[in-house]
């Protein structure tokens, strides 16, 4: 390995270099952004203004602001003007509170055509900041494969042509880590961002962010998965971003009041120590604990979201995965995360593909991947899930989109919309894991039917209708995407609030804005439209805040204090909200309240909504999901929950005596689609938007985001 990387490094050609004065982080900020343009190899330092900090805070907020100023409403994802911005946020990089090392990535998405953001672990964001940069803003396109190297101790940045290193991430991360570390001990100070060959060949490319796992002696990979940012990365001909910073300590983030942070951190460490084993067992199995829960509550997507449970789901349960996950290791994706959910399978022997026969460490598998690649495709085989997870990651393709598009393809195959001729011989029936694995390789390597599948559900719908004569009504009803983004892995059919949680989300149907199914469908705590609208106001605002600050969502409510159930609003986890207020104030020296925390998010959230508008979306019609998000499309789906649906229709006053299933589906659909529209009305009102879903002038003024171009844009829609 070492000799190899010496040779590889010799093949680099320096294109540009900038020396800079090392910065110092003060109260969570370095007050500088590193700007790079790959068209002309510009490298420069830009100031982070007080206005940026006041309005956009950091992380995703900074990304949105830079991108807004870089693109016009005409810009396409593969234009050189498009950018990739990476920033953690003021809290990002503290070591005392679990989940505080996230990087936020923003770009124009190849699949949605508008702005996308993705939240990812690994060491890059914090080490970038400690090297002197609050954000990295990359514009332009290189001619040949390049890397960007940031040396945070010696103070220089280079752009180098790098022809010889691997593109696939498990190798790229290993090679670049070895290349830039001075010794084995030094490897933890190097962080790599890379994609993979699949990011070149599909529109759902992802970015892998590495962190070096000292116990395993390998770089681990965390994914900025959603929306195809890896595809933009490879289109810019970036092979890797590498940062090196040695010397992370407890005060490197320059906190104003460290004691506040320490106290909040110790409270949470103790909670996790005492309670995780009787709550979600994140330390043992990570998010994999959700599979059996979702199955029990009829929420696990099975066979393209047709059903919510399956008798074989037990084969994908956390007890099964626990046997594969090496136990007892400190699996945090940034220092100080005692939740330690980044589980891995060691010495996994690959059975297929270009790395067949090799033994690898797989960062696998999280709930979304298990549900998406497994249950949603009717495949109940943990080893298939691990192998598919490995290839999705190393090829640089999003496993959530892959699961949802694979499930769509399989249903189309089963319903005769596509056939063997179209798939090039692949028998893509539910449960056919060999065909599914082959399709992943085709997507990764860009051949056969994989070239079509890799374009995502929205484009496949169009192709199936236009080229293969599919019934547009049916494919539109069953293709699980909104705004062009494939749905993440929860069945929202019986929860109106979650239909909104998905379809109203700024970036598309990802549950990171709101996961309300238990509150709505199980607890029945939010019965009225106003209740649901309030939940769809509060939770997206609260959760947006994690992305402004470099935080992970999981330590907020995947662990709860023992007495949380006795508080006024257990769903908000009030004690943890207090922790977040404390750590924000502890880092920045400000004195915000929990209400101001929501206000910080509200500014950025509305700005992102308006960004969608700028790109030609962002109105009501783009918030309407396919019917399968809302209810049963097909006879089989209706019949699988006939008792529930019949009862609902009767309660609503429908006369269902002697009616056929088709007639009942129609009645239910009429009702549910109307309910969804009413939900939108209530949510828009609550958020201070027009009936078409555009923030009002009054709202943007109140929030202080009434920049001239914002006002000009939304004025047309008032």
């Amino acid at each position: 390995m070492v000799e190899n990387v010496i040779e590889m490094k010799k093949a680099h050609r320096l294109l540009a270099r900038m020396d800079y004065e090392l910065g110092k982080v003060q109260k969570g900020y370095t007050n500088r952004t590193l700007y790079i343009n790959l068209c002309d190899n510009t490298i420069k330092s830009k100031p982070v203004t007080q206005q940026m900090k006041d309005i956009f805070i950091g992380g995703r907020g900074f990304g949105l602001w830079y991108l807004w100023n870089a693109v016009t409403s005409e810009t396409k994802w593969n234009d050189p003007e498009n950018e990739i911005i990476i920033s953690t946020g003021p809290i990002g990089g503290i070591t005392q509170y679990p989940g505080a090392g996230k990087s936020l990535v923003v770009s124009l998405s190849p699949i949605t055509g508008t702005v996308i953001d993705s939240n990812v672990g690994g060491y890059f964001g914090p080490l970038l900041k400690f090297s002197g940069w609050d954000a990295l803003e990359i514009q332009g396109k290189a001619e040949k494969d390049v890397i960007i190297y940031i040396d945070g101790n010696n103070g220089y940045v280079t752009i180098e042509e790098a022809p010889e290193e691997a593109v696939d991430s498990h190798l790229a991360a290993e090679q670049f880590t070895a290349m830039y570390a001075d010794s084995e001990e030094d490897k933890r100070n190097v962080a790599v961002v890379s994609a993979g060959r699949g990011a070149e060949n599909t529109l759902i490319g992802l970015l892998n962010f590495s962190f070096f796992d000292l116990k395993r002696g390998v770089p681990r990979l965390k994914q900025a998965g959603r929306g195809g940012i890896g595809t933009v990365f490879r289109d810019k001909k970036i092979k890797a971003l590498v940062v090196k910073y040695t010397g992370v300590k407890g005060d490197t983030n320059g906190p104003a009041d460290k004691e506040k942070i320490i106290n909040a951190g110790l409270r949470l460490h103790r909670e996790i120590h005492d309670l995780d084993k009787v709550q979600n067992r994140m330390r043992e199995v990570g998010t994999a604990h959700l599979t059996e829960i979702m199955n029990d509550y009829d929420l696990l997507p099975v066979m393209n979201f047709q059903y919510g449970s399956h008798p074989d789901a037990i084969k994908l349960s956390s007890d099964v995965f626990k046997k594969y996950f090496t136990q007892g290791l400190p699996d945090g994706c940034w220092y100080g995360c005692s939740m330690a959910c980044a589980k891995a399978v060691d010495n996994f022997e690959l059975k297929t593909g270009p790395y067949k026969g090799q033994k690898v460490c797989v960062d696998a598998a999280e709930y979304e991947t298990i549900a998406g690649l497994g249950a949603n495709c009717g495949i109940f085989d943990p080893e298939y899930v691990i192998e598919a997870n490995f290839y999705c990651d190393t090829y640089g393709i999003d496993s959530i989109s892959t699961g949802t598009l694979m499930a769509f393809v399989m249903e189309c195959y089963e319903r005769g919309i596509i056939n063997k001729e179209i798939t090039g011989g692949l028998e893509l029936k539910f449960g056919n894991k060999e065909a599914a694995m082959e399709l992943i390789h085709q997507m990764g390597n860009g051949y056969g039917f994989g070239r079509i599948a890799g374009q995502g559900v929205r484009r496949m719908k169009k192709i199936f209708v236009e080229e293969y004569g599919a019934d547009p009504g049916l494919v539109n009803d069953i293709g699980m995407e909104v705004k062009g983004l494939e749905c993440s892995q929860y069945v929202s059919k019986e929860s109106l609030a979650q239909q909104g949680g998905y379809a109203l989300a700024n970036k598309g149907p990802q549950h990171d804005e709101a996961w309300l199914i238990f509150m709505d469908m199980v607890n029945k705590q939010i019965p009225t439209f106003e209740d649901k609208a309030q939940a769809l106001y509060y939770f997206p605002m609260f959760r947006t805040w994690f992305g402004l600050n470099g935080l992970c969502k999981l330590p907020w409510n995947d662990i709860e204090p023992a007495d949380n159930g006795l508080t006024d609003e257990p769903a908000k986890v009030p004690e943890h909200v207090r922790n977040y207020v404390d750590i924000f104030n502890g880092v920045t020296g400000k004195n915000i309240t929990k209400e101001e925390l929501i206000l910080q998010s509200e500014r950025v959230y509305n700005f992102q909504r308006i960004f969608n508008l700028k790109m030609g979306y962002g109105t009501r019609k783009y918030d309407i999901p396919p019917y399968r998000f809302m209810g049963p499309v097909t006879k089989e789906e209706y019949e699988s929950r006939a008792e529930r649906y019949d009862k609902q229709l009767k309660e609503l006053g429908y006369d269902i005596e002697g009616k056929t299933v088709e007639e009942k589906i129609k009645m239910l659909r009429e009702y549910r689609e109307d309910q969804y529209q009413k939900l939108c009305d209530a949510v828009y009102r609550r958020k201070g938007w027009t009936p078409d879903g555009v923030p009002t002038l009054e709202t943007v003024k109140k929030l202080g985001i009434d920049f001239p171009d914002v006002v000009e844009l939304i004025s047309k829609y008032q």
Binding site: I262, G265, Y335, G336, S338
Partner: protein
């Protein structure tokens, strides 16, 4: 190896142990920088609890920088060069016997030197085999 053992019922709360400890570890006389802590029981004044590390080693595997290690003499120690000050070890200590101070990036932890036992006037702490 010998570690600090306790007989809390003999403790008079004078705090000499804490001063001695902080002097060894950080060259200051500051009980807040001591690796041994005396706390008066809330329910019974004049009665004390003593918190000090028993070198059980449960903190070693929870550390993801490999900063916690067992030294040759058997004591569990912190390698300051590797430590990033996350304090997971402090939160996960089964005996609440590791401490923090905002001026000190690493956890404050007993090194089994015995300095505290030498200044204890009552014999409430003493060195004995683990």
């Amino acid at each position: 190896m010998k570690i600090v053992k306790t007989k809390p019922e003999l403790c008079n709360g004078c705090g000499a142990c804490m001063t001695a400890c902080s002097k060894v570890l950080y060259r200051v006389e500051d009980p807040k920088k001591s690796a041994i802590r005396i706390k008066e029981k809330a329910e019974k004044s004049g009665s004390y609890e003593i918190f000090v590390c028993n070198h059980c080693g449960e903190c070693i595997p929870v550390c993801n920088t490999e900063a916690m290690y067992q030294a040759k003499n058997g004591a569990v120690r912190v390698d300051d060069k590797k430590c990033v000050g996350c304090y997971i070890c402090v939160g996960f200590c089964p005996n609440n016997a590791m401490f923090t101070h905002p001026d000190i990036n690493e956890p404050i932890k007993c090194i089994a030197c015995g300095a505290c036992t030498r200044v204890c006037p009552t014999g409430a702490i003493y060195m004995d085999e683990k």
